[in-house]
Each structure stands twice: as C-alpha cells, then as structure tokens.
Amino acid sequence: MDGAMILEWVIKSIFLILVMTGGFAYVTLYERKVLARIQVRIGPNRAGPFGVLQPVADGIKLIFKEELVPAKADKLIFTLAPVLTVIPALIITAVVPWGTEVTLFGRTIKLYLADINIAVLYLMAVTSISIYGIALAGWSSNNKYATLGGLRATAQMISYELALGFAMIVPVMMAGSMSLVDIVESQKPVWFVFVQPLAFLIYFIAALAEINRSPFDMPEAEQELTAGYHTEYSGMKFALFFMAEYIKMIAISMIGSSLFLGGYRGPFVDQLPALGPLYLFIKVAIVLFVIIWIRATLPRIRYDRLMQFGWKVLFPLALLNVFVTGVVLILVGG
C-alpha cells in the first residue's frame, strides 16, 4: 500500500460519487422525457436545449426553499433520516466493476473501486441499512401519513429483501465467488440471464419493490398517503430522499447488469477494456428505461396483495430456485 494507491482510491471515490449524483440529476430528466414521450407529451424543454439544464434549475430551486420542521417532530432524527437514506445509496455501487483495467498516464488503473471477496454480502448489508433512513423519517415526522408510509415501506422492503437475497445467491453459485469481478468474468461464455431467467425476474421484481418504484411505490402512494414517509420534508432534505431514490434506481440497474447481464462485458471488451464502462452504461440505460416504462404503464398493486405476493409467491419461489440450482449444478456438474 502506498500513497499513490490511496490517492487513486480517493480520486475514484470522488469520481464515483460525482457520477452517481450527476447520474441522479440526469436520470430525473431521462425519466421525465421518457414518461412524456409515452404519454404523448413533450416533457421539459425550456431550461437549455432539450431541457438539459432542467435538473440544475430544480436543484437550485430546492436549495433556496424554506425547510420546515414539524413542531412535535424529533428534530435530530428528522434531520439525520435523509442523510441515513442517501449514504447507503451512494456507497452501494462501490463494489460494482466498470471494466477490467486501463492504462492511463502510464499507470494501470483498475476500473473498480473495491474488489472484495464478499461483494454480494456487502450489497445485501448496505441494502438493509438503507431501510433505516426511511423508517426513521416516517417515525420522526409525527405525521399520520408519514408514520403509515414509513411502516409500509419498512415492511415492504424487508419482505422483498428476502427474495432479493435469494435471487442474488444464484449468480454466486454459478460463479462460485461472491466477488462481482469474478461474477462478471464468469459470464464470458454466456450471460446468467439466459441460464437463470427466473432468478433475474425475481431479482428485478424484488429490486423494484426494494427501491419503492412503481408498481410497488406503496410507501409514497400519492393517491392515499400524499407522499408517504417524506410528506413533511421540504427543501434539500426532500432532495436527499429524491436523490436516494434515483441513485438506488441506477444502483439496482448496475448491480442487475453485473449479476445477470454480463456487466461491462461485450464485444471486443477484452481487446479494448475502455469499452467496458460504455457497455455498462448502455445496459444501465436500458434497464432504467424498462423501470420507467413500467412506471408509465402499470397501476399500483394494493398493499396487502403486495405483501402476500412477496411472502407467498416470490420468497418460496426464490428459495426453491436456489435449491434446485444447487441440485442441478451438483448432479449435472455445471
């Protein structure tokens, strides 16, 4: 370990965080544009050409907004909750590789921040932590909608986390490693989504529920709970929740791409490793498009049905899938 190494990590960390926050800003624009197109509208087009400055304008507006704290709220927790929500979202993608390694300024740089041998476990752990912020936000607001929204969110997220966990175990079994770099590399012959479509489906559904996206956007169901757990939040604190939600969208797209869709792998990536990030970017953009498309298309599932679906269908199915995969791989020797 040397100073240059630490400097590289620092630069890569800053770069990753900038990419995620910048990505968040433009995913909001991307979503609004795609939604508008699906809904026969034009979408934001006033701030800059094609509305590219819209996220900037939104951000500046939010900075200068008054922040309200409800009178009987627990002020400390109320302030901490959005921070607690955004931190896991920012760090979860640290273990996702963008490519193998490239040579830049005569130095070989690995295109990932950390390649740890328990990467999948890390993903699950960070996912679990991200529930705290939402639960605490709902509880500390002293607001009925927020409390109900926070409880709903907590129950929903932990329920679907089980299915999510089991779905993520499948690529681990296929690759025989928990490192995401190994998992991506072992998809060299064939992407796992073609071998394990069921696992990918379970992963995708559970991940949508995990980040409270439509049709599982129950906790913030506008129609009944106004805005759910972040009802009382305004200004930049609200922006943090918003940011966390969109960064999580990017994160599950990146993780899903890496676990099932071959990550940074694509044609000629072995000869030209710099293509890796580009392939990952394209895959993420496609997954994001599907997420937005679903939002534009489907009505919301009712909460009780959602919970029953998670516990009675998705969880047993994911468990069975893991076990059957194990049996087949051992007996057939995959």
Binding site: Q39, Q223, R295, R302
Partner: protein, 580 residues
C-alpha cells in the same frame, strides 16, 4: 330492485289519504300537498305498496310572501314512469318536518343541505349538521330575507352597476369586512373548526365495538381537503385500523359558492352559462337539463334540428366525460397519468367540436330556451361523422384492449366498493353507480325527454355493483352513445334551430317545473319555480355528484385505505357540482 307489481295503485293510495292529501292547485303547479304528521306513513305506503322506491330530490322553497316554507319531494319508480311530487307547507318561523332518512337513506345529504341553506329542521335525521356552510356560520343563506355581504339589489340586472354609463363595483363602495357578519366574539384569524372534534369522537365511538386479538390504536385520518386524490377540495374523515377503513364520513362545501342563491338573482337566461360551472367537464348536459326545465315552464319545444343537435352534444359530452373518468380512475389506482392523458387526447377532439359550435371548449353556454344558440358551422358535421364512425370507436376499442382484461385493473377493481341494488336505490344513487349495481334505470329510457324515444340504444347495467362493473358500464355507455350518435348524424334534418325569435329576456309564466336529464354522472335535475318575474323564484339543482356521495360511506366500509381512493374515483365526482 322491486320489479313486482305494485300492490296498490297510486290513485288508490291517494283516495285512502282523502282529505289529508290535497292536490296542489296553484297555477302551474302539480303534485300533492300533505301535512307533516302523515308524511312518514304516506311515504311508507308510497314506497312499499305503490313502488315509488326512488327519492330523486328533496329541496325547500322559501315562500316568503306567504310566510311559508315548502319542502318538495320528487319520487320515481325505478321501473320507469313520471314523477310523483309531494309537498309540505310549514310555517316559515319554525319549519320542522319529519325526516325521510329512515325510509329513504338517500335523503341524508339533501335534507342536510335544506337545513343548512334554508333552515328547515328535519326531525329524526341522524346527523343534521351544516353540510355546505361552515360550522360557525349564522343564518340560512337561501332564505329570501338573507342578504349576502356584497348585496346590491334583489335581482339582476343590477341598476346600481351602470348609473351614468360607468361601472361601479360594490366591492369598491363597500370595503371588505365592513359588511361581513360574524357571530359575536368571533375572530376569523384564530378560529379553528369547532365541529371537528365532535365528528371525530362520534366516528371513533361508532367503530369502537370491533374486537381484535391485539390492541391497535384506531387512527382518525383526514383525506383532504388538500389532498392529491380527492379530485378537488373534498374531504373524507376516515377511521383506520391498520390499513382497514372502519368508518368514513365525507365532508364537503369547501367550494361552495351558493350557486342557487346566485341563480335566483340571475335572470332565467343568465343562468344558462352559470349551469356550465356546475359539472365543468360536461357543461352541455347541464345546459340541457336547465333548458328542459324552463321550456317545460314556458310550454315550448325546440324545432327538430335543434333537438338533434342537442342530443348530439349531450351524447358527445357523455363520451368525453366517461373516457375522462376512466382515465382518472386508473390514475386513482396508481397508474401514472398515462391512461388519463390518452383519454384527454380523445376529449380534446370532442372539445374541438364544442369550440366550433359554441365558441368555447368547456363553458359552452350553447343551449337556449326553445333551441340552441347557433347552427352547426360548415364542416362540423363532417368532423363529427369522422369522429363517430372512425376515430372514437377505434380508440374505445383500444382502451378496452388495454384495460378490460388487464389483471392489475381487475385485481384492484373486482369485488371492491360493492353496492347492492337495494342499497343503491335506497341511497338515491344515480347514473352509472345505480346501473352498475344491477338497476337498469336510465332517464333516457325510463322517462324519455327530448327525442330519445326515437333512437335505438341499450341501457348498460352491471351485476355486481363493484368498481369494475362501474367501469364496464361506462365503457358500454360510451358504445351506446356512439350508437345514438350514428343515428343522429344520419337523420339530422335541415331547418330552424330556434322556435320563435331569440330573446334576451325569457318570459316565463308562473309555476314550477322539474327538468331532468340523464347526465353522464347520473340524473341531473333542475327544479325551477317562477313567479312570473324575469328571475326564477327558486332554482335548485339536483346534482348527481353530490347525491352519489351519499353512498360513499357504505361502499368504503371495511375496505382498504387504498381502495377508498379508487371507490371515490369510480363515483366520478366533480367538485363544482358537489359543492355548487
């Protein structure tokens, strides 16, 4: 649904009450007068023996010169036929009449409204509170001797407005607060709703007797008035246990502008554009109902071509209202605006037609007494033909393909918010709500007005009375509307569009009339009383959105909180009409 033959004929019942039931013999009036003591027993026989099971409208008339307060009931049979009008006359100083809520629960909101605005006390009403005005309000605004803060003159046109050819506004002469009357020691800045605590406690007590294994706090939650999914400033007070609704009470009046009082100040013709503002989604239907009522009073009928144009506009309105409401029902189910915007696309095409004929897209003001305002401009009929024969059926088909078999829609809608046929009739539900519950009652068929008896169409009805059936009924009604429209554009004759000369001042002889149409949201009725002056003496709107809300509490009981929003969406209310 009582299809059985009535046990007693109406004439028999009337003769049984000989002496107690007096025919209303005033010039231009019809129906019977009864004394308050016999109202309940008479109405019970009327409902059970004669089959008048549907109480359409309850309202009051302030008979100021005669020092009387009159309560007017309009009964119908759900098997069809004309109305039976019943009236009560009580002293104006202490008007007390028995409540009909025990017999016809649908009278609930209407009696509360009559109490609120006219001060008629209904003995035996379970929950006689103000419904439109706020709890701290003093006085009864629809009484003829009540004057609003900016009072100028008893009737329009106001002489004070243009004394020397220059406009003078009463607001300028009379600054704010100098003429607003408050109860004693009342400070509007510090006022908090007084009735709310009692309302919440009452609702909690009602639902306290439900036992469960684990003790959970029951929560009183307000959905609205400032809520994204109540379609406006409408409020539902909900008692929740977990996610389940134990009881619900609608609270309304946030958009109340005393439509009827303003209508009584207006001249007859000035009310025509004013009806646009009731259900602003379907202003053409509102025009239709009001025009029918006044024409009944005047004893005129519009010429053929005008009748066809009227039906055409009314059916186009029905189509646009239903497609709009389905779009927004999907929104209430959590679909993110896509179905709603697709619906709006079709609606805009119909609004183009409205703009071409009336000059306005939403506030059409198109009907006149004895006809319509203008003839169809060149090319509009072709455009309507193209819409009716090609575009709208195609798009309706597309909507059906996306929604009718959609699993998520069916899961969310089937078996939710069920209203049985008996409940629907008793609660005076109207329109698609009533028909989805299995009562094929459509004013166009049951009591045909205008030229609806000439057209071939089926009355759509459902069997289960849930949200899904209401959706299906709306889809089927759109299809039937297109069917009627096809016949209209085929048969429409040439000719005049007004009977007689267009008048700025309609001469309306004294009398009363109840004009009702099958509006897109249900039975829309206008009860108009004239005393021969240029302004209506009484102008009452039987608003379907308002009366359909009576059944909301029944539908929402023991449903999930998420479904309440969908149920409200399936009733299809417009707050402009609810609060008036």
């Amino acid at each position: 649904m009582s299809v059985e033959k009535p046990v007693v004929s109406l004439a028999d019942l009337c003769s049984r009450y000989e002496g107690l039931l007096v025919p209303d013999e005033r010039q231009g009036f019809e129906g019977y007068l009864i004394s308050p003591d016999h109202l309940i027993s008479f109405c019970r026989s009327l409902r059970d023996d004669v089959g008048y099971d549907y109480l359409s409208s309850v309202t009051g008339v302030d008979n100021f010169p005669a020092e009387q307060m009159e309560v007017v009931y309009h009964f119908y049979r759900t098997t069809g036929g004309p109305s039976f009008n019943l009236k009560l006359q009580v002293s104006r100083h202490n008007p007390v009449v028995p409540s009909l809520v025990p017999l016809y629960p649908g009278a609930d909101f209407q009696e509360r409204e009559a109490w609120d605005l006219l001060g008629i006390r209904f003995e035996g009403h379970p929950d006689l509170r103000r419904i439109m005005m706020w709890e701290g309000f003093e006085g009864f605004p629809l009484r003829k001797d009540w004057r609003e803060p900016f009072f100028e003159d008893e009737a329009k046109p106001f002489k004070s407005r243009w004394p020397d050819g220059q406009v003078i506004r009463s607001e300028d002469q009379n600054p704010y607060k100098n003429n607003v009357r408050y109860p004693n020691d009342f400070d509007p800045e510090q006022w908090t709703p007084v009735g709310d605590d009692a309302l919440y406690k009452g609702m909690l007590n009602l639902s306290q007797n439900i036992q469960s294994e684990f003790k959970t706090d029951q929560i009183v939650v307000n959905l609205g008035p400032q809520h994204p999914s109540t379609h406006g400033v409408f409020r539902m007070v909900v008692v929740l246990e977990g996610e389940t609704v134990l009881s619900l009470k609608p609270v309304m009046g946030y958009l109340h502008r005393n439509h009827e009082k303003i209508g009584e100040r207006n001249t007859f013709l000035q009310n025509m554009p004013f009806t646009d503002r009731l259900d602003y989604i379907s202003s053409m239907s509102n025009n239709f109902g009001y025009a029918l009522a006044v024409e009944k009073l005047m004893g005129i009928r519009p010429p053929e071509r005008a009748e066809y144009i009227r039906v055409m506009m009314a059916e186009l309105t029905r189509f646009l209202n239903h497609i709009f409401s389905i779009g927004f029902l999907l929104n209430d189910l959590g679909a993110f605006f896509t179905p709603a915007l697709y619906a709006i696309e079709e609606r805009e095409l119909i609004l183009d037609v409205f703009e071409a004929v009336s000059g306005s897209r939403m506030m059409c003001n198109y009907f006149r007494f004895g006809g319509v305002a203008r003839d169809l401009p060149d090319g509009v009929l072709e455009k309507i033909k193209e819409l009716v024969n090609d575009r709208l059926p195609r798009k309706l088909e597309e909507f059906e393909r996306y929604l009718t078999k959609n699993d998520l829609v069916r899961i969310r809608c089937e078996g939710v918010g069920v209203l049985s046929p008996e409940e629907a009739i008793a609660l005076s539900a109207a329109g698609p709500i009533l028909r989805a519950s299995g009562v094929p009652y459509d004013v166009r068929r049951a009591d045909p007005y205008s030229i609806y008896d000439r057209f071939d169409f089926d009355v759509a009805y459902g069997l289960h009375g849930d949200i899904y059936d209401r959706y299906l009924v709306r889809v089927e009604e759109m299809r039937q509307s297109l069917r009627i429209l096809k016949q209209v554009v085929r048969d429409i004759p040439e000719g005049p569009i007004m009977s007689g000369k267009p008048q700025y001042q309609a001469r309306v002889p004294p009398g009363e009339a109840y004009g009702r149409v099958e509006g897109p949201k249900g039975e829309l009725g206008f009860y108009v009383v004239s005393n021969g002056k240029p302004n209506p003496w009484r102008y009452h709107v039987r608003a379907p959105s308002f009366i359909n809300l009576t059944s909301l509490a029944t539908m929402a009981k023991n449903q999930k909180i998420a479904d309440v929003v969908a149920i409200l969406g399936s009733i299809d209310i417009v707050l402009g009409e609810v609060d008036r």
